[in-house]
Symmetry: C2
Subunit: 238 residues, 2 copies
DNA sequence: CGCACGGTTGACCTGTATCAAGCCGGGTGG
DNA sequence: CCACCCGGCTTGATACAGGTCAACCGTGCG
Protein backbone atom coordinates (compact mmCIF):
# COMPACT_ATOMS: atom_id res chain seq x y z
CA UNK A 1 0.00 0.00 0.00
CA UNK A 2 2.20 2.71 1.28
CA UNK A 3 5.76 1.52 1.68
CA UNK A 4 8.29 3.91 3.12
CA UNK A 5 11.99 3.54 2.62
CA UNK A 6 13.07 5.49 5.66
CA UNK A 7 15.55 3.19 7.24
CA UNK A 8 16.60 3.48 10.84
CA UNK A 9 19.19 1.11 12.18
CA UNK A 10 17.89 -1.57 14.52
CA UNK A 11 21.02 -0.95 16.49
CA UNK A 12 19.63 2.45 17.40
CA UNK A 13 16.04 1.41 17.85
CA UNK A 14 14.65 1.89 21.30
CA UNK A 15 12.64 -1.31 20.90
CA UNK A 16 15.72 -3.36 20.32
CA UNK A 17 15.62 -5.23 23.58
CA UNK A 18 12.07 -6.20 22.77
CA UNK A 19 12.46 -7.49 19.28
CA UNK A 20 16.11 -8.29 18.69
CA UNK A 21 18.65 -10.55 20.30
CA UNK A 22 20.79 -8.90 22.92
CA UNK A 23 24.35 -10.12 23.07
CA UNK A 24 25.74 -9.12 19.71
CA UNK A 25 29.08 -7.78 18.67
CA UNK A 26 29.34 -4.80 16.35
CA UNK A 27 29.66 -6.87 13.21
CA UNK A 28 26.56 -8.89 14.04
CA UNK A 29 24.67 -5.71 14.84
CA UNK A 30 25.51 -4.31 11.44
CA UNK A 31 24.34 -7.49 9.79
CA UNK A 32 21.07 -7.45 11.64
CA UNK A 33 20.38 -3.90 10.58
CA UNK A 34 20.17 -5.34 7.09
CA UNK A 35 17.18 -7.46 8.09
CA UNK A 36 14.83 -4.52 8.04
CA UNK A 37 13.96 -3.66 4.50
CA UNK A 38 11.78 -0.65 5.05
CA UNK A 39 9.07 0.80 7.20
CA UNK A 40 5.41 0.96 6.54
CA UNK A 41 2.65 3.00 8.09
CA UNK A 42 -0.78 1.49 8.62
CA UNK A 43 -3.78 3.69 9.37
CA UNK A 44 -6.30 2.79 12.01
CA UNK A 45 -8.70 0.25 10.55
CA UNK A 46 -6.43 -0.66 7.64
CA UNK A 47 -4.86 -4.08 7.21
CA UNK A 48 -1.16 -4.84 7.20
CA UNK A 49 -1.88 -8.11 5.41
CA UNK A 50 -4.92 -10.18 4.62
CA UNK A 51 -5.84 -13.83 4.36
CA UNK A 52 -4.70 -15.22 1.04
CA UNK A 53 -2.10 -12.55 0.32
CA UNK A 54 1.30 -13.80 -0.66
CA UNK A 55 3.68 -14.00 2.28
CA UNK A 56 6.98 -12.26 1.92
CA UNK A 57 7.87 -10.56 5.16
CA UNK A 58 7.54 -10.58 8.89
CA UNK A 59 6.66 -7.30 10.53
CA UNK A 60 8.01 -5.85 13.76
CA UNK A 61 5.60 -3.38 15.26
CA UNK A 62 7.26 -0.05 16.04
CA UNK A 63 4.22 1.87 17.13
CA UNK A 64 0.51 1.18 17.29
CA UNK A 65 -1.65 -1.77 18.09
CA UNK A 66 -2.92 -4.62 15.94
CA UNK A 67 -5.37 -7.43 16.08
CA UNK A 68 -5.05 -10.61 14.05
CA UNK A 69 -8.21 -12.41 13.07
CA UNK A 70 -9.36 -15.43 11.16
CA UNK A 71 -12.24 -14.57 8.89
CA UNK A 72 -13.60 -17.70 7.28
CA UNK A 73 -16.03 -17.31 4.41
CA UNK A 74 -18.72 -19.00 6.46
CA UNK A 75 -19.08 -16.00 8.70
CA UNK A 76 -17.19 -17.20 11.73
CA UNK A 77 -14.83 -14.58 13.00
CA UNK A 78 -12.14 -15.16 15.54
CA UNK A 79 -9.65 -12.67 16.88
CA UNK A 80 -6.49 -14.70 17.44
CA UNK A 81 -4.43 -12.04 19.17
CA UNK A 82 -3.67 -8.43 19.98
CA UNK A 83 -0.17 -7.23 19.24
CA UNK A 84 1.72 -4.18 20.41
CA UNK A 85 5.07 -2.45 19.88
CA UNK A 86 8.02 -4.80 19.82
CA UNK A 87 5.99 -7.81 18.78
CA UNK A 88 6.34 -9.61 15.48
CA UNK A 89 3.46 -10.58 13.21
CA UNK A 90 3.16 -12.56 10.03
CA UNK A 91 4.51 -15.93 11.20
CA UNK A 92 1.34 -17.63 9.99
CA UNK A 93 2.36 -17.03 6.39
CA UNK A 94 5.52 -19.10 6.36
CA UNK A 95 3.99 -22.57 5.93
CA UNK A 96 2.10 -22.02 2.73
CA UNK A 97 3.66 -18.85 1.39
CA UNK A 98 0.31 -17.18 1.95
CA UNK A 99 -1.14 -15.46 4.95
CA UNK A 100 -3.90 -17.29 6.75
CA UNK A 101 -5.23 -14.41 8.82
CA UNK A 102 -5.78 -10.65 8.65
CA UNK A 103 -3.72 -8.15 10.61
CA UNK A 104 -5.73 -5.01 11.30
CA UNK A 105 -4.37 -1.84 12.91
CA UNK A 106 -6.49 -0.77 15.89
CA UNK A 107 -4.72 2.58 15.91
CA UNK A 108 -2.36 4.31 13.51
CA UNK A 109 0.73 2.16 13.42
CA UNK A 110 4.15 1.77 11.95
CA UNK A 111 5.99 -1.47 11.32
CA UNK A 112 9.42 -2.58 10.22
CA UNK A 113 9.17 -4.75 7.14
CA UNK A 114 11.57 -7.69 7.37
CA UNK A 115 11.69 -9.71 4.13
CA UNK A 116 11.69 -13.32 5.22
CA UNK A 117 14.28 -14.56 2.78
CA UNK A 118 16.63 -11.95 4.11
CA UNK A 119 15.89 -13.11 7.65
CA UNK A 120 16.72 -16.66 6.63
CA UNK A 121 19.86 -15.58 4.86
CA UNK A 122 21.23 -13.58 7.72
CA UNK A 123 20.22 -16.05 10.37
CA UNK A 124 22.41 -18.60 8.62
CA UNK A 125 25.33 -16.35 9.39
CA UNK A 126 24.40 -14.84 12.73
CA UNK A 127 23.65 -17.60 15.21
CA UNK A 128 22.03 -15.22 17.65
CA UNK A 129 19.51 -14.16 15.03
CA UNK A 130 18.76 -17.75 14.12
CA UNK A 131 18.12 -18.56 17.73
CA UNK A 132 16.07 -15.42 18.10
CA UNK A 133 13.78 -16.29 15.21
CA UNK A 134 13.24 -19.75 16.64
CA UNK A 135 12.40 -18.28 20.01
CA UNK A 136 9.90 -15.85 18.57
CA UNK A 137 8.07 -18.67 16.84
CA UNK A 138 8.20 -20.89 19.88
CA UNK A 139 6.94 -18.04 22.04
CA UNK A 140 3.96 -17.65 19.77
CA UNK A 141 3.23 -21.37 20.05
CA UNK A 142 3.39 -21.19 23.82
CA UNK A 143 1.20 -18.09 23.89
CA UNK A 144 -1.40 -19.91 21.85
CA UNK A 145 -1.28 -22.83 24.24
CA UNK A 146 -2.23 -20.35 26.91
CA UNK A 147 -5.15 -19.11 24.86
CA UNK A 148 -6.29 -22.68 24.36
CA UNK A 149 -6.25 -23.17 28.12
CA UNK A 150 -8.25 -20.00 28.52
CA UNK A 151 -10.81 -20.88 25.86
CA UNK A 152 -11.01 -24.52 26.80
CA UNK A 153 -11.22 -24.42 30.54
CA UNK A 154 -11.95 -20.97 31.96
CA UNK A 155 -15.24 -19.32 32.77
CA UNK A 156 -16.10 -15.83 31.61
CA UNK A 157 -14.78 -14.00 34.68
CA UNK A 158 -11.56 -15.93 34.60
CA UNK A 159 -11.05 -15.20 30.92
CA UNK A 160 -11.61 -11.49 31.32
CA UNK A 161 -9.34 -11.35 34.37
CA UNK A 162 -6.60 -13.20 32.49
CA UNK A 163 -7.03 -10.89 29.54
CA UNK A 164 -6.69 -7.71 31.59
CA UNK A 165 -3.68 -8.99 33.53
CA UNK A 166 -1.96 -10.10 30.36
CA UNK A 167 -2.51 -6.76 28.65
CA UNK A 168 -1.35 -4.65 31.56
CA UNK A 169 1.69 -6.84 32.09
CA UNK A 170 2.77 -6.44 28.49
CA UNK A 171 2.17 -2.72 28.63
CA UNK A 172 4.15 -2.48 31.82
CA UNK A 173 7.06 -4.26 30.13
CA UNK A 174 6.95 -1.36 27.66
CA UNK A 175 7.18 1.29 30.33
CA UNK A 176 3.50 1.97 30.92
CA UNK A 177 1.65 1.82 34.20
CA UNK A 178 1.18 -1.53 35.82
CA UNK A 179 -2.35 -0.65 36.87
CA UNK A 180 -3.81 1.66 34.24
CA UNK A 181 -4.51 0.92 30.63
CA UNK A 182 -6.48 2.10 27.65
CA UNK A 183 -8.19 -0.60 25.68
CA UNK A 184 -7.51 -0.24 22.01
CA UNK A 185 -10.27 -2.64 21.02
CA UNK A 186 -14.05 -2.82 21.33
CA UNK A 187 -15.96 -5.12 23.68
CA UNK A 188 -16.87 -7.15 20.67
CA UNK A 189 -13.25 -7.71 19.73
CA UNK A 190 -12.38 -8.65 23.27
CA UNK A 191 -15.32 -11.05 23.22
CA UNK A 192 -14.21 -12.63 19.99
CA UNK A 193 -10.74 -13.18 21.37
CA UNK A 194 -12.09 -14.65 24.60
CA UNK A 195 -14.84 -16.73 23.05
CA UNK A 196 -17.56 -14.60 24.67
CA UNK A 197 -20.29 -12.28 23.46
CA UNK A 198 -19.80 -8.58 23.90
CA UNK A 199 -22.62 -8.41 26.43
CA UNK A 200 -20.86 -10.95 28.58
CA UNK A 201 -17.63 -8.97 28.45
CA UNK A 202 -19.51 -5.85 29.43
CA UNK A 203 -21.32 -7.56 32.30
CA UNK A 204 -18.08 -9.03 33.55
CA UNK A 205 -16.42 -5.62 33.59
CA UNK A 206 -19.42 -4.29 35.52
CA UNK A 207 -19.14 -7.15 37.99
CA UNK A 208 -15.47 -6.43 38.56
CA UNK A 209 -16.33 -2.77 39.13
CA UNK A 210 -19.06 -3.68 41.63
CA UNK A 211 -16.55 -5.79 43.50
CA UNK A 212 -14.03 -2.96 43.56
CA UNK A 213 -11.45 -4.86 41.58
CA UNK A 214 -11.21 -2.40 38.71
CA UNK A 215 -12.44 0.98 37.57
CA UNK A 216 -13.79 1.17 34.05
CA UNK A 217 -14.57 4.39 32.21
CA UNK A 218 -15.21 3.53 28.61
CA UNK A 219 -11.93 2.17 27.40
CA UNK A 220 -9.95 3.42 30.35
CA UNK A 221 -9.33 0.70 32.88
CA UNK A 222 -7.62 0.97 36.23
CA UNK A 223 -6.79 -2.23 38.02
CA UNK A 224 -7.34 -1.80 41.74
CA UNK A 225 -6.87 -5.35 42.99
CA UNK A 226 -4.50 -7.24 40.73
CA UNK A 227 -4.18 -10.03 43.30
CA UNK A 228 -7.92 -10.58 43.25
CA UNK A 229 -7.87 -10.88 39.48
CA UNK A 230 -4.89 -13.18 39.65
CA UNK A 231 -6.73 -15.36 42.14
CA UNK A 232 -9.62 -15.68 39.74
CA UNK A 233 -7.28 -16.82 37.00
CA UNK A 234 -5.64 -19.35 39.27
CA UNK A 235 -8.91 -20.65 40.63
CA UNK A 236 -9.01 -24.42 40.64
CA UNK A 237 -11.95 -25.68 38.64
CA UNK A 238 -12.71 -29.02 40.20
CA UNK B 1 14.41 -42.60 30.57
CA UNK B 2 15.20 -45.25 28.02
CA UNK B 3 17.28 -43.88 25.19
CA UNK B 4 18.19 -46.18 22.34
CA UNK B 5 21.07 -45.55 20.05
CA UNK B 6 19.80 -47.53 17.08
CA UNK B 7 20.24 -45.15 14.22
CA UNK B 8 18.41 -45.50 10.97
CA UNK B 9 19.09 -43.03 8.21
CA UNK B 10 16.35 -40.49 7.56
CA UNK B 11 17.14 -41.01 3.91
CA UNK B 12 15.72 -44.50 4.24
CA UNK B 13 12.84 -43.67 6.53
CA UNK B 14 9.42 -44.34 5.12
CA UNK B 15 8.14 -41.25 6.91
CA UNK B 16 10.56 -39.01 5.13
CA UNK B 17 8.01 -37.25 3.00
CA UNK B 18 6.09 -36.46 6.15
CA UNK B 19 8.80 -35.04 8.32
CA UNK B 20 11.68 -34.01 6.10
CA UNK B 21 12.13 -31.64 3.19
CA UNK B 22 11.82 -33.22 -0.19
CA UNK B 23 14.09 -31.82 -2.84
CA UNK B 24 17.53 -32.64 -1.52
CA UNK B 25 20.66 -33.76 -3.26
CA UNK B 26 22.70 -36.64 -1.88
CA UNK B 27 25.07 -34.48 0.10
CA UNK B 28 22.22 -32.68 1.80
CA UNK B 29 20.53 -35.97 2.54
CA UNK B 30 23.64 -37.23 4.26
CA UNK B 31 23.83 -34.08 6.31
CA UNK B 32 20.24 -34.36 7.40
CA UNK B 33 20.76 -37.90 8.56
CA UNK B 34 23.05 -36.38 11.16
CA UNK B 35 20.13 -34.47 12.66
CA UNK B 36 18.71 -37.52 14.32
CA UNK B 37 20.72 -38.32 17.38
CA UNK B 38 19.00 -41.49 18.49
CA UNK B 39 15.67 -43.14 18.92
CA UNK B 40 13.62 -43.50 22.02
CA UNK B 41 10.72 -45.76 22.88
CA UNK B 42 7.91 -44.45 25.03
CA UNK B 43 5.48 -46.84 26.63
CA UNK B 44 1.75 -46.16 26.65
CA UNK B 45 1.00 -43.75 29.46
CA UNK B 46 4.60 -42.60 29.85
CA UNK B 47 5.77 -39.09 29.08
CA UNK B 48 8.28 -38.12 26.44
CA UNK B 49 8.87 -34.85 28.26
CA UNK B 50 7.22 -32.95 31.06
CA UNK B 51 6.55 -29.36 31.98
CA UNK B 52 9.64 -27.82 33.50
CA UNK B 53 12.12 -30.31 32.06
CA UNK B 54 15.10 -28.83 30.31
CA UNK B 55 14.59 -28.58 26.57
CA UNK B 56 17.24 -30.10 24.39
CA UNK B 57 15.61 -31.84 21.46
CA UNK B 58 12.70 -31.94 19.12
CA UNK B 59 11.10 -35.31 18.53
CA UNK B 60 9.80 -36.75 15.29
CA UNK B 61 7.20 -39.41 15.95
CA UNK B 62 8.01 -42.66 14.13
CA UNK B 63 5.23 -44.79 15.53
CA UNK B 64 2.53 -44.31 18.12
CA UNK B 65 0.27 -41.54 19.19
CA UNK B 66 0.77 -38.70 21.65
CA UNK B 67 -1.20 -36.03 23.38
CA UNK B 68 0.30 -32.79 24.64
CA UNK B 69 -1.29 -31.15 27.64
CA UNK B 70 -0.89 -28.17 29.87
CA UNK B 71 -1.15 -29.15 33.49
CA UNK B 72 -1.10 -26.09 35.67
CA UNK B 73 -0.68 -26.57 39.39
CA UNK B 74 -4.12 -25.13 39.97
CA UNK B 75 -5.80 -28.21 38.58
CA UNK B 76 -6.78 -26.94 35.16
CA UNK B 77 -5.90 -29.42 32.51
CA UNK B 78 -5.93 -28.74 28.84
CA UNK B 79 -5.05 -31.11 26.04
CA UNK B 80 -3.40 -28.90 23.43
CA UNK B 81 -3.07 -31.46 20.68
CA UNK B 82 -2.91 -35.05 19.50
CA UNK B 83 0.14 -36.03 17.45
CA UNK B 84 0.76 -39.00 15.21
CA UNK B 85 3.55 -40.50 13.10
CA UNK B 86 5.49 -37.99 11.07
CA UNK B 87 4.65 -35.07 13.32
CA UNK B 88 7.16 -33.15 15.40
CA UNK B 89 6.75 -32.31 19.07
CA UNK B 90 8.73 -30.26 21.53
CA UNK B 91 8.60 -26.86 19.84
CA UNK B 92 7.18 -25.32 22.99
CA UNK B 93 10.53 -25.77 24.75
CA UNK B 94 12.61 -23.50 22.54
CA UNK B 95 11.65 -20.13 24.02
CA UNK B 96 12.68 -20.69 27.58
CA UNK B 97 14.92 -23.72 27.32
CA UNK B 98 12.31 -25.61 29.30
CA UNK B 99 9.25 -27.48 28.23
CA UNK B 100 5.93 -25.86 29.03
CA UNK B 101 3.71 -28.87 28.49
CA UNK B 102 3.69 -32.65 28.91
CA UNK B 103 3.85 -35.06 26.00
CA UNK B 104 2.16 -38.34 26.90
CA UNK B 105 2.13 -41.45 24.74
CA UNK B 106 -1.41 -42.75 24.18
CA UNK B 107 0.01 -45.98 22.82
CA UNK B 108 3.47 -47.49 22.73
CA UNK B 109 5.53 -45.17 20.61
CA UNK B 110 8.92 -44.55 19.18
CA UNK B 111 10.43 -41.18 18.36
CA UNK B 112 13.53 -39.84 16.65
CA UNK B 113 15.45 -37.60 19.01
CA UNK B 114 16.74 -34.53 17.21
CA UNK B 115 19.04 -32.43 19.39
CA UNK B 116 18.04 -28.88 18.73
CA UNK B 117 21.50 -27.40 18.57
CA UNK B 118 22.31 -29.91 15.90
CA UNK B 119 19.18 -28.90 14.01
CA UNK B 120 20.26 -25.28 14.21
CA UNK B 121 23.80 -26.11 13.14
CA UNK B 122 22.78 -28.12 10.12
CA UNK B 123 20.02 -25.79 9.08
CA UNK B 124 22.64 -23.07 8.78
CA UNK B 125 24.24 -25.16 6.07
CA UNK B 126 21.28 -26.80 4.40
CA UNK B 127 18.79 -24.16 3.31
CA UNK B 128 16.06 -26.70 2.74
CA UNK B 129 16.29 -27.84 6.33
CA UNK B 130 16.19 -24.28 7.58
CA UNK B 131 13.10 -23.59 5.57
CA UNK B 132 11.61 -26.86 6.72
CA UNK B 133 12.06 -26.05 10.40
CA UNK B 134 10.45 -22.68 9.87
CA UNK B 135 7.52 -24.28 8.12
CA UNK B 136 6.99 -26.82 10.86
CA UNK B 137 6.81 -24.06 13.43
CA UNK B 138 4.57 -21.91 11.30
CA UNK B 139 2.31 -24.88 10.64
CA UNK B 140 1.93 -25.39 14.36
CA UNK B 141 0.99 -21.73 14.79
CA UNK B 142 -1.62 -22.00 12.06
CA UNK B 143 -2.98 -25.23 13.50
CA UNK B 144 -3.41 -23.52 16.84
CA UNK B 145 -5.24 -20.66 15.17
CA UNK B 146 -7.67 -23.27 13.95
CA UNK B 147 -8.12 -24.62 17.45
CA UNK B 148 -8.77 -21.12 18.70
CA UNK B 149 -11.49 -20.73 16.09
CA UNK B 150 -12.96 -24.03 17.18
CA UNK B 151 -12.85 -23.24 20.89
CA UNK B 152 -13.88 -19.65 20.48
CA UNK B 153 -16.74 -19.88 18.05
CA UNK B 154 -18.08 -23.39 17.51
CA UNK B 155 -20.83 -25.28 19.26
CA UNK B 156 -20.36 -28.79 20.61
CA UNK B 157 -21.54 -30.65 17.51
CA UNK B 158 -19.39 -28.50 15.27
CA UNK B 159 -16.34 -29.09 17.42
CA UNK B 160 -16.76 -32.84 17.47
CA UNK B 161 -17.39 -32.94 13.73
CA UNK B 162 -14.28 -30.87 13.08
CA UNK B 163 -12.29 -33.10 15.38
CA UNK B 164 -13.33 -36.31 13.63
CA UNK B 165 -12.75 -34.92 10.16
CA UNK B 166 -9.35 -33.61 11.11
CA UNK B 167 -8.28 -36.92 12.62
CA UNK B 168 -9.45 -39.03 9.73
CA UNK B 169 -7.89 -36.68 7.22
CA UNK B 170 -4.50 -36.91 8.91
CA UNK B 171 -4.78 -40.67 9.16
CA UNK B 172 -5.72 -40.89 5.52
CA UNK B 173 -2.61 -38.89 4.61
CA UNK B 174 -0.71 -41.70 6.33
CA UNK B 175 -2.31 -44.40 4.27
CA UNK B 176 -5.21 -45.34 6.52
CA UNK B 177 -8.86 -45.40 5.62
CA UNK B 178 -10.59 -42.15 4.89
CA UNK B 179 -13.71 -43.28 6.70
CA UNK B 180 -12.67 -45.57 9.51
CA UNK B 181 -10.57 -44.75 12.53
CA UNK B 182 -9.69 -45.95 15.99
CA UNK B 183 -9.62 -43.30 18.65
CA UNK B 184 -6.49 -43.51 20.68
CA UNK B 185 -7.81 -41.24 23.40
CA UNK B 186 -10.65 -41.29 25.93
CA UNK B 187 -13.79 -39.20 25.72
CA UNK B 188 -12.38 -37.13 28.53
CA UNK B 189 -9.23 -36.33 26.56
CA UNK B 190 -11.29 -35.45 23.51
CA UNK B 191 -13.41 -33.25 25.72
CA UNK B 192 -10.42 -31.50 27.21
CA UNK B 193 -9.07 -30.79 23.75
CA UNK B 194 -12.43 -29.51 22.53
CA UNK B 195 -13.33 -27.54 25.63
CA UNK B 196 -16.23 -29.88 26.43
CA UNK B 197 -17.09 -32.33 29.20
CA UNK B 198 -16.80 -36.01 28.45
CA UNK B 199 -20.56 -36.47 28.75
CA UNK B 200 -21.09 -33.89 26.06
CA UNK B 201 -18.64 -35.65 23.77
CA UNK B 202 -20.44 -38.92 24.39
CA UNK B 203 -23.86 -37.42 23.76
CA UNK B 204 -22.66 -35.78 20.59
CA UNK B 205 -21.33 -39.07 19.28
CA UNK B 206 -24.69 -40.65 20.09
CA UNK B 207 -26.47 -37.86 18.26
CA UNK B 208 -24.32 -38.37 15.18
CA UNK B 209 -25.08 -42.09 15.34
CA UNK B 210 -28.83 -41.43 15.62
CA UNK B 211 -28.59 -39.23 12.58
CA UNK B 212 -26.74 -41.90 10.64
CA UNK B 213 -23.65 -39.78 10.17
CA UNK B 214 -21.24 -42.12 11.91
CA UNK B 215 -21.04 -45.54 13.49
CA UNK B 216 -19.42 -45.69 16.90
CA UNK B 217 -18.39 -48.87 18.68
CA UNK B 218 -16.28 -47.92 21.63
CA UNK B 219 -13.24 -46.32 20.11
CA UNK B 220 -13.95 -47.56 16.62
CA UNK B 221 -15.53 -44.90 14.48
CA UNK B 222 -16.75 -45.18 10.93
CA UNK B 223 -17.70 -42.00 9.16
CA UNK B 224 -20.74 -42.57 6.98
CA UNK B 225 -21.55 -39.04 5.88
CA UNK B 226 -18.41 -36.94 5.74
CA UNK B 227 -20.26 -34.21 3.81
CA UNK B 228 -22.81 -33.89 6.57
CA UNK B 229 -20.07 -33.47 9.14
CA UNK B 230 -18.29 -30.99 6.92
CA UNK B 231 -21.48 -29.02 6.57
CA UNK B 232 -21.76 -28.80 10.32
CA UNK B 233 -18.23 -27.42 10.54
CA UNK B 234 -18.91 -24.86 7.85
CA UNK B 235 -22.22 -23.78 9.32
CA UNK B 236 -22.55 -20.04 9.47
CA UNK B 237 -23.15 -18.89 13.00
CA UNK B 238 -25.15 -15.72 12.50
C1' DC C 1 -14.45 -64.36 37.74
C1' DG C 2 -14.81 -59.98 39.18
C1' DC C 3 -13.14 -55.51 39.49
C1' DA C 4 -12.25 -51.05 37.68
C1' DC C 5 -12.21 -47.92 34.22
C1' DG C 6 -14.32 -45.92 30.41
C1' DG C 7 -18.56 -44.95 28.37
C1' DT C 8 -23.67 -44.00 28.04
C1' DT C 9 -27.84 -42.00 29.42
C1' DG C 10 -31.16 -39.41 32.23
C1' DA C 11 -32.73 -35.48 35.22
C1' DC C 12 -31.77 -31.26 36.57
C1' DC C 13 -29.06 -26.82 36.99
C1' DT C 14 -26.49 -22.81 35.57
C1' DG C 15 -23.64 -19.78 32.86
C1' DT C 16 -23.70 -17.57 28.88
C1' DA C 17 -26.22 -16.37 24.67
C1' DT C 18 -29.96 -13.99 22.82
C1' DC C 19 -33.14 -10.36 22.27
C1' DA C 20 -34.40 -5.92 23.37
C1' DA C 21 -34.37 -1.31 25.29
C1' DG C 22 -32.00 2.50 26.58
C1' DC C 23 -27.68 5.32 27.58
C1' DC C 24 -23.46 7.84 26.81
C1' DG C 25 -20.05 10.56 24.42
C1' DG C 26 -17.97 12.33 20.41
C1' DG C 27 -18.38 14.06 15.90
C1' DT C 28 -21.14 16.64 12.32
C1' DG C 29 -23.88 19.89 10.28
C1' DG C 30 -27.17 23.49 10.68
C1' DC D 1 -23.12 26.53 19.99
C1' DC D 2 -26.52 23.32 20.10
C1' DA D 3 -29.18 19.35 18.27
C1' DC D 4 -28.81 15.32 16.46
C1' DC D 5 -27.05 10.95 15.26
C1' DC D 6 -24.57 6.87 15.51
C1' DG D 7 -21.48 3.48 17.18
C1' DG D 8 -20.17 1.46 21.20
C1' DC D 9 -21.64 0.18 25.61
C1' DT D 10 -24.72 -1.18 29.51
C1' DT D 11 -28.46 -3.50 31.54
C1' DG D 12 -32.60 -6.37 31.94
C1' DA D 13 -35.55 -10.46 30.82
C1' DT D 14 -35.62 -14.80 28.96
C1' DA D 15 -33.92 -19.05 26.47
C1' DC D 16 -31.02 -22.84 25.89
C1' DA D 17 -26.56 -25.35 25.31
C1' DG D 18 -23.78 -27.61 27.90
C1' DG D 19 -22.38 -28.66 32.68
C1' DT D 20 -23.26 -31.37 36.79
C1' DC D 21 -24.62 -35.26 39.37
C1' DA D 22 -25.93 -39.79 39.46
C1' DA D 23 -27.07 -44.40 38.04
C1' DC D 24 -25.93 -48.03 35.25
C1' DC D 25 -23.58 -50.77 31.67
C1' DG D 26 -19.88 -53.13 28.98
C1' DT D 27 -15.47 -54.88 28.39
C1' DG D 28 -10.93 -55.92 28.93
C1' DC D 29 -7.43 -56.98 32.21
C1' DG D 30 -5.43 -59.07 36.29
Amino acid sequence: MNPHSIKVACSNCNLRELCMPLDLNQEELDRIDAVVGSRRKVKRGATLFRTGERFSSLYAIRTGFFKTRLSSEDGRDQVTGFQMAGEVIGLDGIVNDHHTCDAVALEDAEVCVMPFDRIEEISREVNALQRHVHKIMSREIVREHGVMLLLGSMRAEERVAAFLLNLVQRLHARGFSRSELVLRMTREEIGSYLGLKLETVSRTFSKFVDEGMVEVKQRHVRILKPEALQELVNARVD
